[in-house]
């Protein structure tokens, strides 16, 4: 099903005239059914010249981990707005970081990450758990996220990974 989805999503996307800077995985978390955040992220990241694989909503941890291991993406961008982002994000980032291929892969999470207003206080916890960037709904802007994407290494993925301890 993952391959089918990639094909479907690719129909409309990644038609940039720019040479692709690599592939980014955009994904929701296991319990989150929302997708507008993911559609927006996809189009935004595509505008930086990346090909985006959008796994959509309610992505089981296994599907996310397996897809990321297979693709070896330039960035993993997780979006969540249902209030379970902290819980689901802490769990899945540990599993992603456990994979040798993904030890150094940039990973970010953003959205409404808890059921209350205190998302900004969670950033240190999520960073410590393995994320490289945390973008809570009320405490960050799309400009900050765009700056993060723009600052990603521009080297082709193969060259970059050669310099990584694996």
């Amino acid at each position: 099903m993952a391959r089918h989805q990639e094909v479907e999503v690719a129909v409309e996307s990644a038609r940039s005239a720019m040479p692709s800077r690599g592939t980014v995985v955009v994904s929701g978390l296991a319990s989150d059914a929302h997708t507008w955040n993911l559609v927006y992220l996809q189009i935004l990241i595509e505008e930086f010249g990346y090909h985006v694989v959008n796994l959509g909503a309610c992505v089981p941890d296994d599907v996310l981990v397996e897809t990321c291991r297979r693709i070896d993406p330039a960035l993993i961008a997780l979006g969540s707005v249902n209030g379970h982002g902290r819980t689901d994000g802490l769990r899945v980032v540990a599993r992603l970081r456990d994979c040798p291929e993904l030890v150094a892969t940039p990973m970010v999470i953003g959205g409404k990450l808890t059921v209350s207003d205190d998302a900004e206080t969670l950033a240190p916890e999520l960073l410590a758990a393995g994320f490289d960037g945390v973008f809570p709904d009320r405490a960050s802007s799309e400009g900050e996220f765009a700056a993060f994407v723009a600052a990603l290494p521009t080297a082709p993925r193969q060259l970059l990974s050669m310099g990584r301890p694996e």
Binding site: Q5, V11, E12, T35, W36, V39, Q42, A57, C58, P60
Partner: protein, 438 residues
Amino acid sequence: MTARVPDRPSRPEQGFGAFVRARADAGALVVQPRMGFGDPAWMRAGLAATRAARAHTVGTLTLDSYTRLGDLAAIERALHDGMPLNGYPIATHSDSMTRAVLEGVMDADFPVQVRHGSALPQHIFRRLIALGLTATEGGPVSYCLPYGRVPLADSIDAWRECTELFAQARDLGAEPHLETFGGCMMGQLCPPSQLVALSVLEALFFRAHGCRSISVSYAQQTHPGQDTAAVLALRRLCADLLPDVEWHVVVYTYMGAYPVTEAGAYRLLREAAELAVRTGSERLIVKTVAESRRIPTVAENVAALEYAARAAEANRTTAHDPGTDSQTYAEALALVEAVLNLASDLSRALLLAFRRGYLDIPYCVHPDNRGLTRSRLDEEGRLRWAYTGALPLGHLVRTGQSHKVTAAGLLADLSFLRQKMDREAVADRSSSELTGSV
């Protein structure tokens, strides 16, 4: 225009649908929150406060997202770790606990609807039937495509099984009632004609599997005039296609990016209440001032219910019905007829329709959605097709010059109504300050 049918359901006098019908016949709009808490005491308090609100209300028991997905282990972990759930875990709390939550609150004067969002809801329907709960909502398409990765065919099978089980549960003491969620697909940016078509098709699906008390949903979009035409088209199609069913229309207050100011939020809620009244809709799902930030409190929900009821009372004007002479009606009819003509079995017709792109939801990333359509707002805020893909609308819609969707353009469309309501609310306040009026 209301469907008073000759062949009445078996127990028309009882249940969610009959309650709403009786209020509507008395000229009142029923208002309802979207409310769910993991804690049984909070859930009970929320239902009691909804009941006590100064409005004609029905109750809502929204389930948490782990229950929706059937991930009961995650609920155990969350409860153990003290992490709050975003709804009521009906399959985890014991039935006696849930009965205690409802005891003395839910009765013939205060029916309660269970809301979930599950593509594979067998475990939820089993609990509803065990608990004697007779009103819920969803649909094989609308609870599948926007929310996850469950194959559409699996969702259709599951919903067929659940609808049949539920419809047979008439010995629960009330007529089982199902609401289509199809009119709310994706929350925003699905053109009204496809919302109407999906709501009608899901109602036909429920009817085909034995349900005789149905509500059809429509979510407020970005333009009052366009929404009015859409709800009237929905009513006309239901009157024609659901002759032997007790049905009503439920309008959802805007489900997209909500205004951030209190005045803007209330302005949008008022427009939703006015849409409901203008179109003869019988029920309204409200939203609160907290919507743009977090799950609302009980007090915020009660304030929204009472405000919506006052707004409905204050505006009793009825819209002129353009009948079949409406673009939205013509498009919706074309979509419904094209799907029904694909196969005599509606389950098969729905599957074929998505496979061929006769139904195709803009911006839906589900693997079974073709993804060849796009939508956009025009200069006046009307929701338009940008690309119609393989939809059978070639004779009705001219998309003209193609509009490439950019991130900035999508964000502008997604936040159009939020910004409009916030801006107009501020302008209203300054003008009333200037004139000294309240």
